[in-house]
């Protein structure tokens, strides 16, 4: 336990729990996101940050004050925030003449910046502008990426990975089928990425699978990719490494066939079948005279059920 291995041990249980929550673990916590405003953030950017905070609640932290930093030049400020708030995802919004309505989405590995992608907001429809019933806070959204660009281009592929990481929410073992309400749909078209957020209505259809109708709720963003700062391949590979303990242990001597039958394998030592204990039939028993005459040969007894 790392909390107890520090030079100055925590004095209270609460402090110990706090440290244990933040130390590296086998199965990690859900990633938190921090939403930061830059030196001059205009209304659009502020609204975007607020809406994304609403989508990502409770796994997000929205900072109220403006922070005058430039992530692409100096990452120490971001790393400091990440360490203090234990957030590994960040969204930094700023606005200037050269890069209007700028949004930098990124993630951290070990409190150092791993990937950063700068996106420009072309069109934004806020949650407030769409007057509908919204999904409750904390629903796990379904994510859909449409477009061949997400597979072909390396930067788009990383962006897709980053967006999945950002929006996926907690990993759950099972999910209530009626509660699949929220879907985030990303389309890559003509160098732009359209992010739309819909509410799913499950309508009756003739069969078990319901018919889907979508209702547009906010926020919807039209994004353009600007600069990128992607991690080198070896660092990325290092961050993907999972500890061996997480791999499911393979049970030996068990196999399954196509029909779902489970087969087991038992390894036996060599058996002397003449000494096998089987059922005795009184009528088939040899008389003493015949037995001695046969000189201890193998008696042809039938083995019933092995």
């Amino acid at each position: 336990m790392d909390a107890l291995e520090r030079v100055v041990k925590p004095k209270t249980k609460r402090a110990k729990r706090f440290l244990e929550k933040r130390e590296p673990k086998l199965t990690e916590n859900t990633k938190n996101a921090m939403l930061i405003k830059g030196g001059n953030a205009n209304l659009t950017v502020t609204e975007v940050l607020k809406d994304i905070y609403a989508v990502k609640k409770p796994f997000a932290v929205l900072y109220k004050k403006k922070n005058i930093t430039r992530p692409f030049e100096d990452q120490t400020s971001l790393e400091f925030f990440s360490k203090k708030s234990d957030c590994s995802l960040f969204l930094f919004g700023s606005h200037n003449k050269k890069r209007p309505n700028n949004l930098i989405i990124g993630r951290m590995f070990d409190y150092h910046v791993l990937d950063m992608i700068e996106l420009g907001i072309e069109n934004f429809v806020s949650l407030k502008d769409v007057k509908n019933n919204k999904c409750p806070e904390g629903t796990k959204p379904m994510l859909i990426f449409a477009g061949d660009m997400f597979d072909l281009n390396e930067e788009y592929r990383r962006l897709k990975n980053l967006l999945i990481d950002f929006f996926r929410g907690p990993t759950v073992p099972s999910i209530r089928l009626a509660g699949l309400e929220h879907v985030l749909h990303f389309t890559a078209l003509d160098g732009k990425i359209y992010m739309r957020s819909y509410r799913v209505l499950l309508k009756k259809s003739g069969c078990k699978i319901p018919r889907i109708e979508l209702e547009d709720i906010g926020p919807s963003l039209d994004l353009v990719m600007r600069r990128t700062h992607l991690a080198s391949d070896d660092l990325y590979k290092l961050s993907l490494k999972q500890p061996k303990a997480l791999k499911p242990k393979k049970k030996k001597n068990i196999s399954h066939d196509v029909f779902g039958t489970t087969y087991g394998r038992i390894h036996m030592q060599k058996q002397d079948l003449s000494k096998l204990q089987t059922r005795k039939m009184k009528g088939l028993r040899k008389r003493r005279a015949e037995k001695s005459a046969q000189d201890g040969g193998i008696s042809p007894k039938k083995a019933k059920s092995a």
Binding site: E5, E23, K25, E28, N29, E73, D74, S88, M108, F109, D110, N123, K140, M142, I144, F145, A146, G147, F150, D151, N161, I164, D165, R168, T171, V172, P173, S174, R176, L177, L180, V183, H185, T187, L189, D190, Y198, V200, L202, K203, K204, S205, G206, K208, I209, P210, R211, I212, E213, L214, D216, S232, D234, L235, Y236, L238, S239, L240, K241, Q242
Partner: protein, 368 residues
Amino acid sequence: MAAAVRVEELLAAAAAGEREAPPGEPQPPPQPRGVSVEKELELEFDLGNLLALDPNPPPAAGLRGAGPRREAGLRALARDNVQLLVAQLWALPAERAGGAAGPLVARLPEPSCRLPREKPPPRPRPPTRWEQFARLKGIRRRKRSSLVWDEQWRRRWGYRRAGGDPARSWLVEVPAGADPEEDQFAKKRQEKRERVARNEFNRLRNLACAHRAATTIPAPPLHPTGHQSREELGLAARVARVSTASLGRFQPRLPKEPVELPPRGRGGKKRRFQPVLGDLAAERGRQLELLRTMNSKKPALDITRAVNKQLREEDAEAASAKGKKRGQRGKRGRRQQQRPGRGGKKSGARRQQRPAGGSAGGGKRKKA
């Protein structure tokens, strides 16, 4: 599942048949439309993440031109994709959570999309001194019960423990061989303080050992492997020479092996002098060299060379510290340093200041 597919087809056919009814007749009541979606390329699903990836290029014609037309096109595309994803999710093994009346819950598989971790996986810590000893002796952990019988079940440690609070012991027997004037209470307090201090010392020692084990570079092996360099073999030979009872003083030497002075233990207070009757020619040469340097106008310490050497050393130190800190970054670390605007102002200013500071420092050095 086969039955469900056939039902789908029937319904689709029925719906198609209905739509083809002549327009003049009263329209039949709108039936729920089918759930089948046609796509050119199959979608990739990662149900653990509720994720679907559509590799089809989106219909560019329908989505051009801003406004409601594009929104409708995007929504139609989204609807198709969500329909396929929901079909996959409904195909998962489902059960009713919380009895027969509970909600229908599907068991999700493990997420297959590889996402980077937040922090590196935890490293196993090296065993402590006690753990090593226990493993050597074969001592295994005995689990102690948390309650002990003491006229009733009392806890072993903590509030109202069995055996009473040791801090409030009001009676201490004087042991048989002890001095009757000695303060037994003070003695007990002293012993407790010593135990606590020893425990803390051992804990810090274990921590330091673990820290050192985690940060040291492994020393080159002394036994013969096939891949040792000349320096490593030299080191191995030197260590072998010194590993005798007289620390290598009487070991025979090879014909051309150089005589190595033993390394100074604590900074070497012992001064070593040249033998009195040694090499006369060498002594003469040394004295003449000394006179030459004393007479020459050039300073014995070349300031620019000294300053450059100092700068190089500082740079190497900074680079190695940076490299150690961001050792994993590799290409990206180097790329960062090459970028123009990257803290350029700061390092540039520093570089201009250093030679001036260096030369002033060099001047000071000369005087001292």
